[in-house]
Each structure stands twice: as C-alpha cells, then as structure tokens.
Subunit: 576 residues, 2 copies
C-alpha cells in the first residue's frame, strides 16, 4: 500500500504538490530571473525553446545510472505559480530599473504552455541521452532549469548508488537504509530513503519516509538503550504471556537466567556437529568455557526489550563484547522466548570484524539448535552495520560471511564515493533553429536539435545501443540494419539489426490541459521497473571492475547535422 500523507500523487488531472514544501518557484538560481527579465525586455520571452536534461558521465566509476526524480519535477511544474510574496522578493532582488510590466508577466506565468517528455523514472540510463526534454516559452523553461536539476541530480545519484550496493550484496540479502542521521540535511535524508528503496533497498529506518512513501520500516535499539540499564534487578514487571495467550510466565527474568546458565554449561559437547552448516562448523572455541561472565546491564536491556517486543526481539550485541557477552545474552533471551512460543528475530553487529563475528555467531546458533533442539535457531537472522559500502560488502563476500541483512547508512545516503551527479540542462533548439554549445572539451559539446531516442535490443534480449535521431526521422525498424554513429568520433560506427526497438521518452506533461500524458506510477512500481531493468542488462556492463561501456549513438543524419552546425558556429581559425 502506498501511504502518502499528501493524498494521491496523481489522481486524474490533479497532481499533488512537491513532497518538500520548500520546492517553490524561488528554489532557483537568481540568474534564471535576470535572464527571464532580459528575455522579456527583448521581447523574446515567448520564443519556443527546447532544452535537454542529461548527464555526461556515469557515477561511481560504473557504466550505468538509474534515472530518478521525475515525479517531483512533474509535481513541481503542475503546481508552478509565483505568489505575490515571491514576486515582491524577486522585485527586491533585481535592479530597481526593471520595468513593472515584467512583474505583471511573472504573475501570469505557469506551466500550461510547457511540454515535458521524459524517460520513465526507474529506467537504466546512459550518458548524453536526454532524460528529460522540456519545451516551451524560453523565459518559463529557463526558470525550471535549477529546480529540475536539483530534483533529478541527487535522486538519480542515490538510486544508482543503492542499485550498486544491492548488486554487490547479492539478491538474497536484505538491504536496510539507516542513513538519516548522516544525510545532507532533512530531505537529504528523506530523499535518500525514497530513492534507495527505488534502487532496490528493502526498508529504511526513517519514519518520515515510511509515512510519506510507504517504505517498510526497520529498527530495534541502540547502544544507549543497552547502557541505560544497570542490571536485571531493575526490571519490575517480569511477567510475559505465552504467544498463544494460554498462560503467563510470571518471572521471565529467571527463565532467561536459567537459559544463560545452561548456555554457560555448554562445554566441549559440540565436536560432533555435522558439516552441513555453511561455516563448516568445527569445535567452536567460543563456546568452550568462555561464557563465564556476561554483562549484566546488557542482559537487563535484552530482557526488557524482549518483554516489550516478544514477537520481534532483535538485539544489538556489540555494546560490550560480542562473543563473550552479546551472543550468550541474546541466546539466553531468545531461548526463554522460545519456551513461551516466540521466535526471536536475530542479532545486529555494529562493529568489529563482521565476517569473522558473523561466522562465529552462526556456529553458536547452530550449536544451540543442535544441543537444545530448537530447529530454527541455526538460521537466526544476522544483520550487520557499521560504515558499510560497496568495497566493504565486496570484501565481506570474498572473506565469506554469515550476514543476512546489511544496514547501510553514510555511504549510501551521502553518496560518499561520489557526492554529485553532473546533470546539465542545455538549449538544443529555439524557434525551430537547432543550437549547439561548443567547448574545447569535446565531451562538453551538446547534441543539438529536438530529438527522439530509442533503445535497440539484440537477439538475447539485452539492450545493445541507444540511438538519438532528429524529431522527424523515421524510427529504427525491427530486423533492419541501422547505422549507429558515435556523436563526435567519426571512426566509431556500427550497423545494428535490432530485434526490438523501444522509444525512450514519453510525454509526462502535455502543456495543454486536456492533453494525454503518462501517469505517475507509485514508488513500488518504479522500484519494480528499476529491478527488472537492471536484470535485463548484459552482465559485462554491470560488473564493478572494468565494466564495458554501453554504447550511445546518433543516426547518420543527426551526425551529419551536428558536424555541419559545429563548423558553422566555431570561430574560423580555432582548429589550431
């Protein structure tokens, strides 16, 4: 169920406002307003402009990106209107010589003459191919540049980061986003939770994001909870009903203590364990008489937590000493709960050698399963956290580990490995005249013209190449040879015979109120799209080390036109 406190995002013709109420027409660079004034003063403000929003390089050293942030862009333009207060502030901020007529003009500005074509959110995308194309009166479209970039850049970056983490962790693992406290501001946190889920995470700790977007929530307790207890003596209400409600254990604290003693008595009796367990259990030193003293404040905290959440007892076991205290204390409480018909939810490790500790913990769980005949105990869920990122996940995989769930914070939400995506918003046409932005750096030359983009698929179902064409060129056809050219490198070109042709951009905002537009799907559908798309990619594009670049091309006709325009615009004598 999509729980959204703003009501439905997209009910027929009414689209909800941006999630963050701070996203208003003033959330833009001042120069968008100075330019709007200059356009207006020159009588150019209604000229029809076409801008492409795209990025130049995939993030994180990878060869793919997940496009996200579109829904917020559409919510923004659907509700775009400057208030009188906004207009007063713009007037204060511009030169006092600016004419009043401009502010009258601003008062009437909305996005009813703007058209937005975009690739659906959650799609795997590549450099240079427009993610969004915005058409409309130049002064208005210009005002959208900064908010669109702001809404797309981080969203796509963090969704990509999440997808990469999921790829390394492997499909069978649960990924939990725990980053709110380290995020770049409040909606750095809220956005991170949303777009990590989109990119394939399973849950978040962020309650506000859970409420806004219906993302599953996870969370148990912290180290402070553990150290806030002194010892079991302070537990007053020691009773706990059985899970079936049939009876009540009057002294759960003593039951835990009994189990702790049994665990402490476990010595040298487990050498006959079979080797079907994943860690190839041998005689576990950890169980060999080292369970003498466990920390009593920890034991009290675990017992209290179990009394509060008997059906969902998950313990953070590293406040004092994982192997000597956290694990035996957890096992004692979990076994006591088991007596009353409750199945404990597992442990969380938040420090130390996660590979080693998870394997050792698994051995103990398996031993307990065998010794005490508790059939599920060996499969106790182990969650690991503590500064995890792609590299540490990869290292854990190489070392071998027994972790079932990863709690990832700082590195995924702040995109620590690369904190920004460089989407740009470039003018490609004005009044039906194609425009090009030149640069000494060829990767910064823009691809002119209002364009269409297609993804061509090969026989094995993998996408082979994206191709951009002029707006009015015939589309590539299934089964026909299509020449795909590198936009700037004459020698790079190839014929492709597509088995399937998919047009990438669809109309999400038709301008005219009655126009047909794509619906904004719920977050879980966008997440599904993302996961499905990633599975369809050829594996060599996805690998972490030296991935193969996915090809992005232009049609022969567009190639010729780019180079005609380039020569035309470049100052004579520049090609030294």
């Amino acid at each position: 169920m999509e729980a959204n406190s703003n009501g439905p995002i997209d009910s027929g013709r009414v689209i909800a406002p941006p999630t963050n109420p701070m996203v208003t027409p003033l959330l833009t660079d001042l120069y968008q307003f100075t330019m709007a004034y200059a356009y207006w003063k020159a009588g150019k403000h209604k000229e029809q402009a076409v801008f492409d929003l795209y990025f130049r390089k995939n993030p994180f050293g990878g060869e793919y990106t997940i496009f996200a942030g579109l829904e917020e862009c559409i919510r923004f333009i659907a509700n775009f209107k400057l208030t009188e207060d906004d207009i007063s502030f713009v007037r204060e901020s511009l030169s006092s010589s600016c004419e009043d007529g401009f502010y009258d003009y601003l008062r009437g500005v909305d996005c009813s003459e703007v058209k937005v074509y975009a690739i659906p959110e959650g799609t795997v995308v590549f450099p240079k191919v427009p993610l969004i194309r915005v058409e409309g009166p130049i002064a208005v479209v210009q005002l959208l540049e900064t908010p669109f970039l702001n809404l797309v850049n981080y969203a796509s970056l963090v969704a990509t980061n999440a997808a990469r983490h999921r790829f390394v962790a492997g499909e069978s693992k649960n990924l939990l986003e725990f980053g709110l406290r380290r995020a770049q501001g409040p909606d750095g946190g809220i956005g991170a939770s949303r777009y990590c889920y989109l990119g394939g995470f399973h849950a978040t700790s962020n309650v506000a994001a859970g409420k806004l977007f219906g993302i599953p929530l996870r969370g148990t307790h912290s180290h402070a909870f553990v150290s806030s207890f002194m010892g079991p003596d302070e537990i007053i209400d020691k009773s706990l009903h059985r899970s079936d409600g049939q009876s009540t254990c009057e002294d759960f604290v003593s039951l835990v203590q009994t189990w702790l003693s049994k665990i402490q008595d476990l010595r040298s009796v487990h050498s006959d364990l079979d080797s079907t367990y994943p860690c190839s259990l041998q005689r576990s030193k950890s169980l060999n008489g080292t369970f003498g003293e466990t920390n009593q404040s920890e034991l009290a905290a675990f017992t209290s937590y179990a009394l509060a959440f008997p059906s969902n007892f998950l313990a953070l076991v590293d406040t004092y000493d994982v192997m000597r205290s956290g694990i035996p204390n957890y096992c004692a409480v979990a076994l006591a709960l088991n007596d009353l018909g409750y199945k404990a939810a597992g442990i969380r490790l938040d420090s130390g050698d996660l590979a080693y500790l998870s394997c050792e913990a698994r051995k103990i769980f398996c031993t307990i399963e065998k010794e005490f005949g508790v059939p599920w105990f060996g499969k106790t869920n182990i969650t690991a956290s503590n500064d995890l990122n792609e590299e540490t996940l990869d290292a854990l995989n190489k070392q071998g580990h027994e972790v079932d769930s990863f709690g990832i914070g700082t590195y995924v939400v702040t995109c620590y490995a690369q904190a920004a995506l460089g989407c740009v918003f470039k003018l490609v046409e004005i009044n039906n005249q194609p425009r090009i932005k030149l640069s000494e750096d060829v990767t910064k030359v823009s691809i002119p013209c209002k364009k269409r983009s297609y993804r061509l698929y090969g026989k094995e179902g993998y996408p082979l190449v994206d191709i951009m064409t002029g707006e009015n060129e015939p589309p590539p056809k299934v089964g026909e040879r299509t020449l795909c050219r590198h936009p700037f490198n004459e020698s790079k070109r190839a014929y492709v015979v597509p088995q399937r042709v998919e047009e990438l951009m669809k109309c999400f905002w038709p301008g005219s109120p009655g126009g047909v537009r794509e619906d904004l799907p719920p977050l879980k559908d966008i997440r599904e799209r993302c996961i499905t798309q990633l599975k369809k990619m050829r594996p060599d594009h996805m690998r972490r080390l030296n991935p193969t670049p996915y090809k992005v091309s232009v049609s022969a006709e567009l190639y010729d036109f780019i180079h005609f325009l380039w020569l035309n615009e470049a100052p004579v004598g520049e090609l030294q």
Copy 2:
C-alpha cells in the same frame, strides 16, 4: 537585514518552527520509537539521562570544524509535539502488541523537561568536546537523537567546507555559492547556501535561501541565454537612457558596433604599457589583429543583457571563444555603456585555463583603460567558476591569476571531498550514574559523565587547549597551573597556565518555561562569530598541509574517573 519569511526566529519566548516543514518528530529512526516503548514498558521512560553530541575527527583532513545547525535544533525542540496523525503512524509501525498507554504517553510528550546546553553556533570546535549536551527523560531525549544529528552533521560539515574554501581563496576574494543544482536535494541546496554564508561566503545564487535568510544574491546569465540569440538584427528596442536620465541613445546596438570596430582596430599600439599592472603586461598577442570576427549571437546576447541591466552588466564570456569573441564583445558593450555613464560589472569565466584566461583578460582590460582613457576599466571584476574546489583554488594561487570572485558549486555544497561528518550522540549519564561506551577501537570510547568544557587561551591570545571536567569540579583559573590530560593516553599530559578561560557550553533550552536561555542570534552575527574565531586560531592549526592538531584534554579528576569506569565495565580478560 535578516529577511525571514517565517517571521522572527526568536522573539522572546516564542521560537519559530524548523525552516523545513518536513522536520517533524517523525523525522527520526524507527528504533527511537521502539526504544521509547521499551523504556515506557519497563517504567524507565522518565529516568534522567544526559547525552553528549560530538564528533570524533575533523573533516577534510583538517584540524578544525565549524559548529552549525544549533538554531534548527532549538527550533525543533521548541515546537516538538506529535500530531494525532503522527501517533497513528507510529502505532501502525510498531508491533500490534504494544499497549495503548504508550500512545497516551506520546500524546503528552514535549520538550518542557529537556535541557539543552551547547557551544554557540559558528564556534570553531574540535573532536570529542560535546557540541550539545541534552538532558531530560530518557525516552524523550532518545527521540531527539536522529533529528539533532541530521540537523548538525551536514550544517557543520558544509560550514567547515566553506571556511576552508575561504581560507584558501584569501580574504580579499569574493566567494559566491552556486551549488543549488548539484546539491543533495532541495534543502541540501538551501542548507548549503545558509551554512556556506555562515562559514564566510559572501553571496549565493539561491533565491529561496536569499529570501529565507537574507543572504545577498548574485547571478547574471547562462550559456543558454547567449546561444538563444541569433544576431544583433533581432534586437528591436535599441534605445537606452543615459544613467543620469538626461538623454537617450536611440541606437545602442550601433554604439556597441562602433566600439567593437575600435577594439578591432587596436593593433600593436600598446607596447609602451608600463609594468605597474599585476600581470606585468607586455605586448599582448591577444590584441594583435585577432579580433577579426566575434560571435554575433554572443554580441546580441550581451547587448540585450546590457539593455535590460545597464547598471549591472556582467557577461559570461566563454560560450564560444573567450579571447577571440567573449572578451572583445564584452569590452565593446562595456565601453558603449561607459559612454552613457554606466560602469559595467565584469565578466565570468566558466571553462578553460582560468589562471591564463584571467591574466589575459586583465591585460586587455588594462590596455583598453590606457588606450581609451577609461580609468576603471583595468580593474574590471573577473569572476571564475567551473568545478572549483580547495585544490583548484590553491593551484590558481600558485600559478598566479587575476580572478576577483569565485563561484563555487558542487564541491562546496556536496562536500565532495568528504560527504559526511560523523557526529554521534552518546549516553554519558543516567540517574546520576555515569555511563561509558567501550569499543575495541579506543577512538570510539565515549567520555562519561555530565561535563563542563573550557577553552584555555595563552599569552598571545590564541586558544591553547580545550579541557573537559566533571560538572562539579572547580573551573580552571586564569594564571593558575592546570593539568590537562589526554582522555585515553596516559603519557600525554601538560600543565597550562591560561591567560583567559572561556566556558564553552551555554544554556539554549532551559526546560522550565521561565528559565533563562541564550538568544538565537541572526545568521549574520553567527557568520561574524565564525570569521572572528577563525582569525584567532594559531596559523599552524589552520594550514592545509600537515596542520598541527589542536589539543583536547580532560582534567586529572575526570581522567581518573574514566579509567576507573573503563576497568569496571570491561569484561575481565578482554585486555589480551
């Protein structure tokens, strides 16, 4: 003037809500609510807890940090109240077995029993010293952990980043924050603008931040503006009043054209330039007959922009070719404006070799000053942008440049060099019992007890050391020998005779409604504090390369207590 659309931040006893309406009690980790329930269930929820918020390591490889985000924390707690809607959502998110009494309790929760002591915002701060101390009922204080960390971590990180950029750029330069489009979400952008200003930046491009916080705004036009013009023919209204209003130039376009011709005729006549100009001007090749053809769409754009903003003409000169087109076009328009009594505002360079181009541009401006007798022209303001960061600023300084203002975006707002600060929130006392969090990693051991912190100043006025003491110890005294001990390293200790003793934490939220508290100062005062504090630091702590760590210590009494507690809590046999 502080322009704040929310009204005054702090008028007497009423404190405005958080700037971002998304900052609500639900902007927290789920485990804060599960713990609150477990505390409540155990009857512990009203126990008096003391938590310290601090960080362990300065960011960016430096030896100092700027503390920021406090105002938002105080605004948050001053308005802390769960709505019925919030409570329903918490109920849905917790186990269905949780008792109703807990939700009644949540309904009544506010921060009237919480006390907040903090170092004033904008202070230079160091690892381990508490930035904020929060005291109150443990269940309530626990709910504050995540929002406090979220509000402080990024604010302090970006303020520190801004201060570091300012340090490298040098005090005489103007620093403009242009990062909104690349920021981590909408209030990643708004927060960045606010805290970059706090850290010493001079202005922002972000209109919303200008409106919310009264930060000066800057901005002119983009490349798209330039390429949206075809040529001067499309300019319809060519008239421009003189600045004194005495007369009107009917054809400003022709006036520009005349000046462009004069500039193009400038050849070989400037070899007699004296060498008083900063770039040691010699015969400039750039002026030597290469001004043959400038880009006409650029010339039209500049002319139009000047017609719209004659008093504030600042041109982006790198759309086509800086030296062959942008600079001569700018000069022609600036000289035409000069004829009408307007002084142009300067140029912006957004690509290429900024050191070289700024020096070449300066030479041309100086030549024009001399040749055409325009006395201010040599000092034309040069702004540079394009992926600037600490390293590129440093490199520009080493190469020599003529840039007056730097526009910095991505690297400052996303804190690209280190995207997160690791502030933590640790329990240090409960029911007057000190608590310690142990860790195999000694840097992660917390410093127990409710503490006071002092900054001790030396003879030359520099801060020498910060010292933490127990709450009830006598403070260090001016002129008296004070033993300062490293909290964890027995052999590191020194006597200090302070010339001045400053207690660092003040009460910003006294709990009881009538209590005395520090006012929340306006942003510009916080910025002043930050700049003044930075100037007072000993230079070796501030340098970029191998800065000297600033010393942070504990009193002898606190040292002994820490180690007593440590031994007490550590499981026997852990010290292998």
